[in-house]
């Protein structure tokens, strides 16, 4: 059973590789300097202990079986420092423009006050830089770590250990926020740095808001971006969340979304992953209120030797919730795509309706796709299903298009666009759909060139 031979339990063992050693040391030093005696200090120290015990995950850790972080992380760049005006300007040039949005900028993980519309947020939205929020004992800061999963996650442990930069954002109950809020993360400059940010977002009951997260950075620079979001979608609230991961091609991107859905809450989430040398996006979603509906969709585009991993864990804890996941992966050259999606339906979560689909398109024989959709069902009155496909472009469709005069490359482009288009369709806002399609078409055009 060698290929399935991955232990469920990670054995306790000391930190081993040089990178793990360096991370633990830096983390220890940072904690000694920063972490106080309060709850946050405890949370951070616990994360260091967990990291010391488990380190970076490798092939034999089931959840990371296709993304060997221990082998991939060789060097650890120094922690980023507070940005100056020049860095902010350079960062802004990297950030995609989101029409009509209020923007908050993080430069190499650190909050950039000068380039953020903190004071000009739409009505009903309030945000604080994380350090101020912690200092001011903001109730949102007190929630840090509340949505952490039961299982050890190295990316999240590091994010928690280095927790200092980030944001708390609150949307008032009942607020209908028309303007999107754009949380932009950029790594400018030619020197690699490591940045860790945490955003804690609580959307009040019945509110509606659109959030766009973007991640970008300098091409060719091996920086480490580690970002985690804790998002509470209140009872009857609606959140549209679009994530654009367009990191520089040498970067390491580790993203975590922790999610809790209240009663009748709605989430419409789309994630585009097309940057970074290695990226992993983990979602821990918990359906905690009856009648919650989650739609998570996404597109991964990879080429060269890029490695892109999307891993979802959706926990249906209560009855009557609905989840829909549709992920499309397009792999060119020697790129490697990973999709792992697990739907858990607990004993009492009757009438759960969960559907998950992952479709991958392989454009090259050197590309690799690994799919692991999972169902874990403990309630009997449910409708759950998953599907996964891997394949090349359809020869018959290609011939049909060519017989009508479309050159091979153009016919392929049209079919790939149609392939990813199905996932983009899930986004409700037309402006955001257009933004997404534009960015994908640009990627495809670059590939064809």
């Amino acid at each position: 059973m060698s290929a399935m031979d991955a232990p469920v339990r990670t054995p306790l063992r000391p930190v081993r590789t040089a990178a793990e050693e360096a991370l633990a040391l830096t983390l220890q030093a940072t904690l000694d300097a920063e972490a106080g005696q309060g709850r946050i200090g405890e949370v951070r120290r616990a994360a260091l202990d967990a990291f010391r015990a488990h380190g970076l995950p490798h092939r034999r850790v089931e959840e990371w079986k296709y993304t060997d972080l221990r082998a991939a992380v060789r060097d650890v760049p120094p922690l980023s420092t507070a940005p100056d005006a020049a860095a902010e300007a350079e960062a802004l040039a990297l950030v995609p423009s989101v029409p009509d949005a209020a923007r908050i900028l993080f430069v190499a993980g650190a909050f950039a006050r000068g380039a953020s519309d903190l004071a000009a947020l739409p009505e009903g939205v309030a945000a604080l830089p994380l350090d101020s929020a912690i200092a001011a004992a903001d109730p949102l800061a007190d929630r840090i770590g509340a949505l952490s999963p039961d299982r050890y996650d190295a990316a999240l442990a590091l994010n928690t250990g280095f927790l200092k930069e980030g944001l708390t954002l609150h949307v008032d109950a009942g607020a209908r926020v028309a303007r999107p809020v754009h949380l932009a993360h950029a790594f400018p400059g030619g020197k690699p740095a490591a940045g860790f940010t945490r955003t804690v977002i609580v959307v009040g009951a019945g509110a509606e808001v659109t959030l766009v997260e973007s991640f970008s950075g300098t091409v060719g620079v091996a920086y480490h971006a580690n970002h985690a979001m804790e998002l509470v979608v209140g009872d009857g609230a609606t959140v549209h969340l679009v994530r654009l991961q367009e990191e520089g091609d040498a970067a390491l991107h580790l993203g975590t979304l922790m999610l809790e859905m209240g009663r009748g809450a709605k989430l419409n989430h789309f994630s585009l992953a097309q940057g970074a040398a290695l990226s992993r996006f983990s979602v821990y979603g918990r359906f905690a209120g009856t009648g919650a509906q989650g739609s998570l969709s996404g597109v991964t585009l990879a080429r060269g030797r890029q490695h892109a991993d999307t891993t979802l864990l959706l926990d249906h804890a209560v009855a009557g919730c609905e989840s829909r996941e549709l992920f499309k992966t397009v792999l060119a050259d020697a790129s490697h795509g990973v999709f792992q999606g697990k739907i858990v339906v607990r004993r009492d979560a009757q009438k759960t309706d969960g559907r998950m689909m992952s479709k991958a398109l392989l454009l090259s024989d050197a590309a690799e796709m690994d799919n692991k959709p999972e169902l874990e069902i403990f309630a009997d009155d449910v409708q759950c299903g998953h599907g996964a496909t891997v394949g090349a472009l359809d020869d018959k469709m290609l011939f049909y298009l060519r017989s009508r005069g479309l050159p091979q490359a153009e016919a392929e482009l049209l079919l790939i666009q149609a392939f990813v288009g199905e996932a983009v369709e899930q986004v409700e806002s037309e402006a955001l759909r257009e933004l997404l399609m534009d960015r994908m078409v640009a990627w495809l055009a670059k590939r064809a060139a």
Partner: protein
């Protein structure tokens, strides 16, 4: 217009066309009839350049140009059009997007200006109603959710928009009821012109009541075994293909 000489073609190790000869002058409509498995559809695929088929001998000249070395899209740009027997569904590619992409690709290949959006829309609005193609059908993915008849109508609409020199209709009548057949035949007849030729492949004579051919060929075991006027089709309708089966046996 089209000259096929001693054409041999196979798929895998299986030779299907075994020395086929056929000449279609400008402006003429030729019908090819024959029993199932005689190689009719293979001929349409070989002419349009489907990758799985290998031409082992012979030549195909289209407008004085050897087309066997051309890619499918180059043949299309040269004016060759195949109306498929089973048009494929392409989810996610809107019919309109596809039609415009095809028109512009062909124009570009011929060194012509691309069609502007208003001109394109005008053209489609002008041609679609005749074929009973609703705006809703044009917005949908190519052939997605179309009935058999709708798919065939969509093929003829593409033909009308692309204005090819040679139209190959592969069993266009299959799966059509009589009303749908009339709509399709009407669309085809509207495209008759002294500078446009057609090759109509069919198993039954009934399509030829509506699209009157100049010449009828009988195909059997990968060759043309008999040619004649339109009355040959009627004769075949009565006697069937049995005589040819026996000849072969």
């Amino acid at each position: 217009m089209l000259e096929i000489k001693n054409l041999h073609a196979s798929i895998g190790d299986n030779e299907i066309l075994k020395g086929l000869n056929l000449t279609i002058p400008d402006g003429e409509i030729h019908a090819i009839m024959g029993p199932n498995g005689s190689g009719k559809s293979t001929l349409s695929y070989v002419l349009s350049g489907k990758p799985d088929y290998e031409v082992t001998d012979g030549s195909v000249t289209f407008d004085g140009q050897d087309i066997l070395a051309l890619a499918p899209e180059e043949r299309a740009a040269a004016g060759l059009f195949l109306a498929f027997q089973y048009p494929i569904e392409i989810p996610g590619v809107a019919n309109m997007t596809f039609l415009r992409a095809a028109m512009n690709a062909q124009r570009k290949a011929r060194g012509e200006e691309e069609i502007s959006t208003p001109d394109f829309l005008k053209l489609v609005r002008q041609k679609a109603p005749d074929l009973g193609m609703s705006p809703e059908m044009l917005r949908r993915g190519v052939n997605v959710g179309f009935s058999g008849g709708e798919k065939k109508r969509n093929e003829i609409l593409q033909m009308a928009l692309l204005e090819p020199k040679l139209c190959i209709l592969d069993e266009t009548d299959s799966g059509l009821d009589i009303d749908a057949l009339k709509v399709v035949a009407h669309g085809v007849n509207a495209l008759r012109s002294p500078t446009r030729s057609m090759l109509v492949i069919t198993h039954y004579q009934r399509l030829l009541d509506h699209i009157i051919p100049d010449v009828v060929h009988v195909m059997h075991k990968g060759r043309i075994v008999r040619s004649g006027g339109k009355e040959l089709a009627l004769e075949l309708e009565e006697s069937g293909y049995a005589a040819y089966e026996q000849d072969a046996a």
